[in-house]
């Protein structure tokens, strides 16, 4: 019981070391820490829960099989999100998914039914609109936005995940927010 308590207190990096040695509990703790945020990361990017779950499963299988490739000196969260981001990037490359899906959706129908008023912002409708607007962003802008505002990554961490400079991250975030504000102007209470 004492050992279990200790493992919960361990850092991600130490848990990966245990996981590589075959510690099932370490794997379980890492799953509990990352499954939900990463599922949401995939879901916001792919807009399909099934697909997001497949991606999540693949990501954890990678952790099981290639966990030994993780450099203990690095930050696990960044390494893991980089894998997740690259997985989405590959998906976009192979299927040009974001464009195809977005074009298939009648996004204006929702907007047209919406009366612009701050009092009437309904989170579920906003959520749908936000997803549609997010899909108009390019993959890097979308990832920057989600990592910053949904997963509370610092600018530096985002730059490491997306393998770019901090300046690029800042400008991506600026344009992402500008674009989102433009797309979601029906919700603007001002």
């Amino acid at each position: 019981m004492k050992q279990e308590f200790d493992k919960q207190q361990l850092t991600d990096e130490k848990l990966v070391v245990l996981l590589n040695k075959g510690d099932e509990e370490a794997f379980e703790i890492l799953y509990d820490r990352y499954a939900k945020p990463l599922l949401n990361f995939f879901f916001m990017k792919l807009r399909s829960k099934e697909k997001a779950e497949d991606f999540l499963q693949n990501l954890f299988v990678k952790l099981i099989e290639k966990g030994s490739q993780f450099d203990e000196q690095k930050v696990f969260r960044i390494w893991f999100y980089t894998l997740a981001h690259n997985q989405c990037k590959n998906e976009y490359r192979s299927l040009s998914r974001s464009k195809v899906e977005y074009n298939n959706i009648e996004d204006n129908s929702l907007v047209n039914n919406w009366e612009s008023s701050s009092e009437r912002i309904d989170s579920s409708i906003f959520s749908e609109h936000l997803n549609l607007a997010l899909n108009k962003l390019n993959d890097d802008q979308k990832s920057s936005f989600l990592l910053r505002f949904k997963h509370n990554f610092s600018m530096k961490e985002i730059s490491e995940v997306l393998e770019c400079s901090e300046g690029t991250t800042k400008s991506r975030l600026f344009y992402a927010l500008k674009q989102l504000a433009k797309e979601l102007k029906e919700f603007n209470p001002y």
Binding site: E24, Y31, L39, N40, F60, I64, F149, L180, N188
Partner: protein, 163 residues
């Protein structure tokens, strides 16, 4: 950024006529962005407050099973590799022993051959010595016979005249 600072400075000094069309646009965008920034904040807050999707329970079970399976396979592979290594070690040891045995046998048989050759040579030498003795004896015998025949001639008072 420098352009907007320049434009704002002109605006604060009331030098509206000095503003270039680009600077005017920049100022308008900037004035708009005050409201826009507030809206951006709302977007961020709503994004953060958005209902999260939950992973299905079966996913964890499946992944845990996969984890166990992979680790078992890894252990089995490691054991296989170590047993293969053990067999290799045994095979190498057998080969070394065989090699040593073969070398020893070869060296041993060579020594025996040499010994037998030596014995033969020795025997040969012994026989040769006997022959030599016999020959020597023969030589001595013929010399004695000669001397005896000389005595015979002298005793018989036979004189031989040589011309």
């Amino acid at each position: 950024m420098q352009n907007i600072d320049k434009a704002l400075s002109k605006l604060s000094k009331g030098e509206m006529e000095l503003l270039t069309p680009e600077e005017r646009t920049l100022l308008i965008d900037n004035l708009e962005s005050t409201e826009l920034n507030d809206f951006k904040e709302i977007i961020i807050q709503l994004t953060q407050a958005e209902n999260d999707v939950e992973p299905e329970g079966r996913l964890k079970t499946e992944l845990l099973q996969q984890f166990k399976k992979t680790k078992q396979n890894d252990t089995a592979t490691e054991q296989k590799a170590s047993s293969r290594f053990y067999f290799l070690k045994v095979a190498a040891a057998v080969l070394v022993l065989f090699g040593l045995g073969a070398t020893l046998y070869f060296v041993n048989s060579k020594t025996t051959d040499e010994a037998s050759v030596y014995i033969e040579t020795d025997e040969f030498n012994q026989f040769t010595q006997i022959d030599q003795v016999v020959n020597e004896e023969d030589t001595m015998g013929s010399e004695t016979k000669f001397l005896m025949s000389m005595d015979f001639f002298s005793n018989a008072s036979v004189s031989l005249d040589y011309k």
